[in-house]
Symmetry: C2
Subunit: 362 residues, 2 copies
């Protein structure tokens, strides 16, 4: 039978099967929850012994420990992390600042972070900046109020105030996604977006394309640097850089990719290759070209970025750049936890690179 309490009011006593033990206080601030002291009274030992049994079991005799564990289970005791944090000065929490959770790129990164934290018994607090440095400043401030033991932020570009806050917090920090494109405050894990863009340009040039376009959505700092890397190689080859360039600050989506390539082609039908700054955009471009009966890559080549799930399966399969998203999250968290556990890191900066995956679309 399950009866869920109808009333959550502070101090309201809710019936529980607690072996007769009731929460000690039900004053106005009491939450009516079982505390360490309740367990201690039940077992007949001091509170600190319960604390030890839970946090450092080896310090408590096995027999007593067993009794404590039994009482904890019976009373449904759940330690109060706020109290623990306050007393111990550590929250076992990591803060994560990403642009938006609803982008596959960052949900993959976050998964990498999550899997590492769960293994080391940390919690994850995340916040979205929605690609705004002002928002970032706000959420950093909010997250720091939770006194995380460490923090991960996205990108190397932030406001001076954000930097100040992070330094004043005096906790390890990993800036993720990008390396080699700005000031690093502490640690850094990612890859070079400039090089990634350049690498795709070189590939397309090597394939013989000469009227090469660029479609960019979102156009955050990293997108811009991918574009710069890309255009620098076109410039090196004495090709047009501005002519077939189309960017927007609208977030990337499949639909947007369709619209953008439509616009580009209506202005410049001679374009023979397009680098989309995100696979989503590239999917949309491919679909739109299909509708226009343009053969890919014969009439127009399409390339993407990130190597998302569908890229290997789409027709034609998408030439793209694989980025180590999960690994970035995972390794960044590893750096953080190593630092927190006073284990040395080989390096404060990890360039995890990228990989150009040549498939059929270009």
């Amino acid at each position: 039978m399950v009866l869920f309490p109808q009333n959550y009011k502070k101090g309201i006593e809710v019936s529980r099967d607690n072996a007769g033990v009731k929460p000690a206080k039900s004053g106005s601030r009491a939450k009516g929850r079982i505390t360490l002291n309740d367990v201690a009274k039940t077992v007949g030992v001091s509170a600190i012994t319960i604390s030890r049994a839970l946090n450092d079991p080896d310090k408590v005799k096995p027999v007593l420990r067993a009794r404590i564990e039994k009482a904890v289970a019976e009373l449904n005791y759940v330690p109060n992390r706020a109290a623990r944090s306050l007393a111990a000065g550590s929250t076992q929490t990591l803060a994560v600042v990403i642009p938006t959770i609803s982008n596959t790129v960052f949900s993959n990164v976050l998964k990498g972070i999550y899997d590492q934290t769960i293994e080391h018994n940390y919690e994850v607090l995340f916040a979205n900046t929605y690609y705004s440095l002002q928002n970032e400043e706000k959420v950093i401030s909010k997250l720091l109020a939770q006194y995380p033991d460490g923090i991960i932020t996205t990108g190397l570009d932030m406001t001076e105030r954000s930097k100040e806050l992070l330094q004043a917090a005096n906790i390890p920090l990993v800036q993720i996604m990008e390396v080699g494109a700005g000031e690093v405050l502490d640690m850094n894990v990612g890859f070079s977006h400039f090089d990634a863009g350049a690498s795709m340009a070189e590939y397309l040039l090597a394939q013989g394309y000469r009227n090469i376009g660029f479609l960019g959505a979102q156009m955050d700092f990293r997108s811009q640097r991918r574009m710069q890397g890309f255009l620098s190689k076109l410039a090196d080859a004495n090709l047009e850089t501005d002519k077939y360039l189309m960017t927007t600050t609208i977030p990337s989506s499949v639909k947007l990719g369709g619209h953008m390539i439509a616009d580009l082609l209506s202005e410049h039908p001679q374009v023979d290759a397009v680098f989309c700054n995100n696979d989503d955009l590239a999917y949309g471009a491919i679909f739109e070209c299909q509708r226009r009966k343009l053969r890919i890559p014969e009439q127009i080549a399409i390339a993407g970025f990130n190597d998302l799930d569908a890229s290997a399966s789409i027709n034609p399969s998408l030439t793209t750049i694989r980025t180590p998203l999960y690994e970035i999250g995972n390794r960044a968290t590893e750096l953080l936890i190593n630092t927190l556990k006073r284990r040395p890191n080989l390096s404060k900066t990890l360039d995890l690179g990228f990989e150009l995956i040549a498939r059929d679309s270009a």
Copy 2:
């Protein structure tokens, strides 16, 4: 200039531009951070006044408030939420339990949750169950240790122990994604997966398809109920239900969709329509059919579930069921926050429905 502290050791003093004020204590537990008391001393008022200026600004005279805000900014003071939580008995934190963050479905739900929490100044703590009830039990226990003010869990199926823990926690709970398919512990937001499945079956039947297959990945409880709803309508129409059925517990992906339809077609080339339990799977199926030069929907119809970003753009555009993912997260959080703020909710259960989007693929 930015110099990041090289040492995070407790109590180590790090130089800061703190207008001469140093953290009060640097004992072994002190984190070397500025506290309310430091601000109070700087401004020359009591700590509680600082607290009020920050939490309930109207209660402090504007002139004084301005001085306090200035001091807070100069000292880079960040309130300690653990201390606040402990003193106030509220953490301003909501816990979220979802199967996996790396599934677009749940990252959309989480975004809905996040956007609502940010507006009301709550924090989000999330955990993944990876579709395991045992994991769910563990993460619920871990999350409750943070004493969240409210909690959102996914689905109606959980272990007895999970239910016990949630009840003992005595905080508002919203079970999301599904309604009408099991015991609700407190509040409930979602839609009927059985009905959604049934609705797609009716549509396909109405279109005249008779050799109708089903491809199911992951096959968690909700997938199963979608399948049951779907098959029940096929049975009503006296059609085969088992013959063209293919399921796996492997997580859904585009690639998997391709493999599954390939397998299904090699066994049963007569299949004329397939309902994929996820759009990802449907994309993969469409791509594979294209490679086999099967005309969609003339030779084989494909339908999906969730109406993800690419579904409207793919060729042919995908007939699917649009599910209110963002809204589920958003409304569930709204219910939770209303409850926490003692505002009445019209209902403890919200059926947000679904919508069949008929496009070209079926």
